[in-house]
C-alpha cells in the first residue's frame, strides 16, 4: 500500500501516457464527464458512474478480426498498450467475468490480445454513485477484491493506492508514491466499512433469483415488459458482462475484404431466428426472459468469479432503458408479482 498526493494524480497520468494509451475521466465542454484519452486540460477526478463500462477497450463495438487481400490472410491481433484509469469496482468485476467467459473452452486470440495489453486502475467508490447502484448485493463493490493492477482509495487528504499485480507495482513511480503508514491501514478499513454501508442492499434480487431458479415466475411479468420494450438493445450494450457478437464480411474490392465482429444483443429477434424462419424465442417477452435468466441465474456459474451472478449491480440498464426495463425494475416486478 502506498500513498499519493492528490495534486500529483494528473502528473502521474502524464507519465503513464508516455508508455500507454491512458483512458480516463474527461470533463466535456458541456460539463458532463466521459471516459476518453487522457488530456491534462480535461482530466478530472470529480466524476461518478461512467456512462459506459470499459468493455469497449477489450471488446470493441466493432472490430476487424482479419483481412484478406490478393489471397493473403492477415489476422488482426496487434494491440496498443492501454491503461484504463479510474474504472469502478463493478466494472472490474465485469471485466473479470467477461474475460473468464471469453477464455472458456477455446482461445479467442482477438480478445486475449487486448486483455494482455490492458492495465486497470480501479477507483474505489465511497458509496453509491446514484440511486441504481447495488454492487454490495451482487458482491462486486464498492471496492474491488482482485483483478486490478492498481486500486485507489480517496482518503480525503491523500489517495491510498493498492497494487494488485506486479505490473501495478511497476506503475507506482517513486517520485509520486510513498509508503503508507500503519495508521493508513486502519483508516482504510474504516473507510471500506462506511462505503459499503452506504450502498443499499436490494433483497428483491435474491427473491427474483430464487423464483427464477424455481421456475416460479409468472409469464405475465415477461408479457408486461415485452409489450413495452422498444428493442433498442441498449441494456446489452451498456452491460459490463454482455459479450455476444455477430460476425459479417465486408467486401472492399474484387480481391479484398475483411471479417468484422460487432456487438449483438439477445433482444433482437434475428439473434435467435433460425434459417427456416422459426424463432425459438418468438416474442419480445421471451427474449427478455432469456436475457434476465442469463444475468440472474447461474447458467454461467463458472464465470461469475466471487460475485452473485452474471449481473454486477452497476445499474446502467436501469439508468438508461428508455422504458424502465432495467435489472432493478425486473427483479422488483418478479419479487412483487
Amino acid at each position: 500500500m502506498k500513498s499519493c498526493a492528490k495534486k500529483d494524480m494528473g502528473r502521474v497520468l502524464k507519465v503513464w501516457s508516455e508508455d500507454y494509451r491512458v483512458i480516463g475521466p474527461a470533463r466535456q465542454t458541456q460539463g458532463d464527464c466521459i471516459f476518453d484519452d487522457f488530456d491534462e486540460a480535461t482530466f478530472t477526478m470529480d466524476y461518478g458512474k461512467p456512462s459506459l463500462p470499459p468493455k469497449g477497450s477489450l471488446f470493441p463495438n466493432s472490430e476487424i478480426t482479419f483481412t484478406v487481400s490478393e489471397g493473403e490472410y492477415h489476422e488482426n491481433t496487434e494491440r496498443e498498450k492501454v491503461l484504463l484509469f479510474g474504472i469502478r469496482a463493478c466494472d472490474m468485476m465485469g471485466i473479470r467475468q467477461a474475460a473468464n467467459f471469453m477464455a472458456r473452452g477455446f482461445d479467442d486470440p482477438f480478445y486475449r490480445a487486448r486483455c494482455e495489453n490492458v492495465l486497470t486502475v480501479v477507483m474505489a467508490c465511497k458509496g453509491p454513485q446514484n440511486e441504481t447502484c447495488f454492487c454490495t448485493t451482487m458482491r462486486s463493490g464498492p471496492w474491488a477484491e482482485k483483478g486490478f493492477d492498481l486500486q485507489i482509495f480517496d482518503m480525503g487528504d491523500v489517495y491510498l493506492v493498492e497494487a494488485g499485480s506486479e505490473r501495478g507495482e511497476m506503475l507506482m513511480i517513486e517520485r509520486f508514491f510513498t509508503e503508507a503508514t500503519s495508521d493508513d491501514g486502519e483508516r482504510l478499513a474504516s473507510l471500506k466499512r462506511e462505503s459499503a454501508a452506504k450502498v443499499a442492499d436490494v433483497p428483491a434480487v435474491r427473491t427474483a433469483m430464487e423464483r427464477l431458479a424455481a421456475g416460479d415466475v409468472d409469464d405475465a411479468v415477461w408479457d408486461y415488459f415485452g409489450g413495452k420494450c422498444i428493442v433498442c438493445g441498449g441494456c446489452a450494450f451498456v452491460c459490463p458482462t454482455c459479450t455476444c457478437f455477430t460476425v459479417y464480411d465486408v467486401v472492399r474490392g474484387p480481391r479484398e475484404g475483411e471479417r468484422v465482429r460487432a456487438w449483438d444483443a439477445c433482444l433482437f429477434a434475428g439473434f435467435t431466428r433460425e434459417a427456416s424462419g422459426h424463432n425459438p424465442r418468438s416474442s419480445q417477452g421471451l427474449r427478455l426472459k432469456r436475457r434476465h435468466g442469463h444475468k440472474l441465474l447461474d447458467y454461467n456459474a463458472a464465470d461469475i468469479q466471487e460475485a452473485v451472478s452474471g449481473c454486477v449491480g452497476c445499474g446502467r440498464c436501469s439508468d438508461y432503458c428508455p422504458v424502465h426495463i432495467g435489472t432493478l425494475e425486473v427483479v422488483k416486478a418478479i419479487a412483487a408479482w
Binding site: Q30, G227, I230, T246, F268, A269, G270, G277, P322
Partner: protein, 528 residues
C-alpha cells in the same frame, strides 16, 4: 412541434394520430409509454394495430384517408356538448362560426359511416380530449401523406385551438419529424418559396436584404418548383438540369417509372450522396459527400432545437463536406463563395434569419442546443410557441370538408395499399441496408395482410405474392398479421428488390404537393 419533447413527461393526454412513433421515433414513443404508466390518457387514431395501441385507453381505427371526417366529428361533439374553451375561442381566434357550420354536418353517425369508427368511441375521444388539462396532439406522415394532407393538418390545428390546447406547456400540435434535420432544411430555405427563416422570395424587402448580404443584384423574385413539380417539368423538358443532394427519388417518389422517365430526360443530372444510390446510378456526375459522422455543423430537430455536431472521423477517399462542395461549385460558376467554416456560415445565418439571430456557434458549443425563435444572444430560446398570441395575431379556424382518397378500391383493384417505414430501416435503405445487424433484423421486403384476406387468397405467412396497381407490380413475401385491418395491405419503401413506389399513386396535395403515399388501390395475387 409547437411544443417540446420534455413536455411529454407532463402531459395529461396524448392524441396520437397517424404516427407509428415507437417504430419511427422510439425515444418519443418511450415517453408516451412512460406517460401512460404514470397515469396519462392515451388516444390512438390509426388504422393499424401499432405498438402504442396496446397501451391506448382508446384505439380508433379509422378507414384510411378519413382523418378530416374523424377530426370534424370530434369537434362537432365538443361544440355541441359545450366542452370547448369559450374564452380561448373568443380572445385568441377568429372564424369560429365558419368552423361550427362546417363541422355541424359531421354527426357521429355520418362519421361512423365514413370512417368506420363507432359513434360511441368518437364521443368518448372527444370528451377525453376536450376535458384534459394538458393535451398534446402528436402526428406524423399518416396525417400529411395524403391529397388532403394540408386539410388534415388544418383540422388538427382547429381541434387544438377549439379546446385551448395550444400556447401552454404540454399541449399543442406536434408533428414528429421523420429525419434528424428536415426541420433545419426547411428553416434554411430548402423550399421553393422562401429564404431562411421562412422569409418570402416574393417580398421585395426580404430580397433586398439578401442581395445586400450576398453582394449580388436581382435575386429571382419568382417562386420555384417543388420536387414533384420538377419531375413533371423534367418529363416535358421544361427542366433541363437537376442537382440532387442526399435524396433518392428513384426509391422515394411515387410512381417510380415516371421518375425514371423524368430523370432520363434531363440534359444534365448531378447527384451528391454518400453511396451510389438508385438515383445516383442515373447521374452524369456523382459528387461524393461526407456522412453525418464525417461532417460538422448544426441539425435542427422536431422540437426546433438547433444542435451542434462535430465530425468524429474524416471522410474517406475524395468525399467532402457538403458546404465545401457547394462553395467550390458556386465559385467555379462565377460567384466567389468562400466560407472558412461551419461557424462562419452560422454567423451569416444569425445575421439574416431573425428566428436564428441568437443561435450562435459559441452558445451552441457550450450547451445542449437552442430552440427557435431565439432572436438575440440574450434570448433563452422558445420551448413552446403561440404563448400569448399567434404569430399572425388571432388564430384563424380553417374548416375543411372531407374528401376521399384520390384512388379508392374497386372491383378489379380491390385492396387498399398503404405505405410507411419499419423500425429497422430508414427511408430508401441506402444506409440501414448496409448495416449488418439492421439488415439481419429486416432482410427483405414484406407486406402485411390480414389473416382473413390471406385465407381467401390462399396466401400463407411467408408466401410470395404479387401486388399490382395501375402503375406497376412487385413481388414480395406476405406477413400474415392482424396488425392491419381487413382489405388493407401495408408495405415499405426500403427495398429496391420490391420498390413499393412503383405502385403508389402520383397524386398530390394541392398546396404542399406531398404525394398520397398512404393510400391507393391494389390487387393481390399469390405467386405459385
Amino acid at each position: 412541434m409547437t411544443n417540446t419533447i420534455n413536455e411529454f413527461d407532463e402531459a395529461d393526454l396524448f392524441f396520437v394520430i397517424g404516427t407509428n412513433t415507437t417504430a419511427q421515433h422510439p425515444l418519443i414513443g418511450s415517453r408516451i409509454i412512460n406517460a401512460k404508466e404514470r397515469g396519462a390518457t392515451l388516444i390512438v387514431v390509426d388504422p393499424r394495430e401499432i405498438q402504442l395501441a396496446r397501451f391506448a385507453d382508446l384505439h380508433l381505427r379509422q378507414n384510411i384517408g378519413t382523418d378530416v371526417a374523424v377530426l370534424n366529428g370530434i369537434m362537432k361533439i365538443i361544440i355541441e356538448e359545450e366542452l370547448y374553451d369559450v374564452s380561448f375561442v373568443e380572445t385568441r381566434t377568429e372564424g369560429f362560426d365558419d368552423l361550427k357550420k362546417t363541422v355541424a354536418r359531421y354527426t357521429p353517425a355520418i362519421v361512423e359511416m365514413i370512417s368506420g369508427i363507432p359513434a360511441s368511441k368518437l364521443e368518448t375521444a372527444a370528451r377525453l380530449y376536450a376535458e384534459a388539462d394538458g393535451a398534446m396532439i402528436v402526428y406524423a406522415m399518416g396525417i400529411t401523406q395524403h391529397t388532403t394532407g394540408t386539410d388534415n393538418v388544418k383540422s388538427c390545428a382547429n381541434l387544438a385551438m377549439l379546446t385551448g390546447h395550444v400556447g401552454r406547456p404540454a399541449t399543442g400540435v406536434n408533428p414528429l419529424r421523420g429525419q434528424n434535420n428536415v426541420q433545419g432544411a426547411c428553416d434554411m430555405g430548402a423550399l421553393p418559396n422562401v429564404y431562411s427563416g421562412y422569409q418570402k422570395v416574393i417580398d421585395d424587402a426580404v430580397r433586398e436584404k439578401f442581395e445586400s448580404a450576398w453582394g449580388v443584384k436581382e435575386l429571382d423574385d419568382k417562386v420555384g418548383l417543388t420536387i414533384t413539380d420538377m419531375m413533371a417539368a423534367a418529363v416535358t423538358g421544361d427542366v433541363k438540369a437537376l442537382y440532387v443532394m442526399g435524396e433518392n427519388p428513384m426509391m422515394s417518389d411515387p410512381d417510380s417509372s415516371h421518375i425514371e422517365q423524368a430523370l432520363s430526360n434531363l440534359d444534365f443530372f448531378v447527384v451528391q450522396d454518400i453511396f451510389l444510390s438508385e438515383t445516383a446510378h442515373l447521374a452524369d456526375v456523382v459528387l461524393p459527400a461526407a456522412s453525418f459522422a464525417e461532417k460538422s455543423g448544426t441539425y435542427t430537430n422536431s422540437e426546433r432545437r438547433v444542435q451542434l455536431a462535430r465530425a468524429a472521423v474524416t471522410p474517406p477517399g475524395t468525399a467532402r463536406q457538403d458546404w465545401e462542395i457547394i462553395c467550390d461549385i458556386a465559385t467555379r460558376a462565377g460567384y466567389a463563395m468562400a466560407y472558412a467554416s461551419p461557424a462562419e456560415i452560422l454567423a451569416e445565418i444569425n445575421a439574416v434569419t431573425p428566428s436564428y439571430g441568437g443561435i450562435t456557434f459559441d452558445r451552441l458549443s457550450g450547451g445542449y442546443g437552442l430552440q427557435w425563435p431565439c432572436p438575440n444572444e440574450e434570448h433563452p430560446g422558445t420551448p413552446y410557441l403561440h404563448k400569448d398570441k399567434f404569430a399572425k395575431g388571432l388564430g384563424t379556424f380553417l374548416p375543411c370538408d372531407f374528401r376521399p382518397l384520390a384512388e379508392v378500391p374497386d372491383e378489379e383493384y380491390d385492396f387498399l395499399l398503404t405505405t410507411g417505414r419499419i423500425y429497422y430501416h430508414f427511408h430508401t435503405g441506402t444506409m440501414t441496408r448496409r448495416t449488418n445487424l439492421l439488415a439481419r433484423e429486416a432482410p427483405g421486403p414484406t407486406f402485411e395482410i390480414h389473416p382473413d384476406d390471406a385465407a381467401k387468397l390462399g396466401i400463407r405467412d411467408g408466401d410470395m405474392a404479387e401486388l399490382e396497381t395501375r402503375r406497376g407490380k412487385i413481388t414480395l413475401n406476405a406477413e400474415v398479421t392482424d396488425r392491419v385491418p381487413r382489405k388493407v395491405v401495408f408495405s415499405t419503401f426500403h427495398f429496391n428488390e420490391a420498390p413499393v413506389n412503383l405502385l403508389t399513386n402520383p397524386v398530390f396535395d394541392p398546396v404542399a404537393k406531398i404525394p398520397e403515399y398512404k393510400g391507393c388501390a391494389v390487387k393481390i395475387r399469390r405467386c405459385s
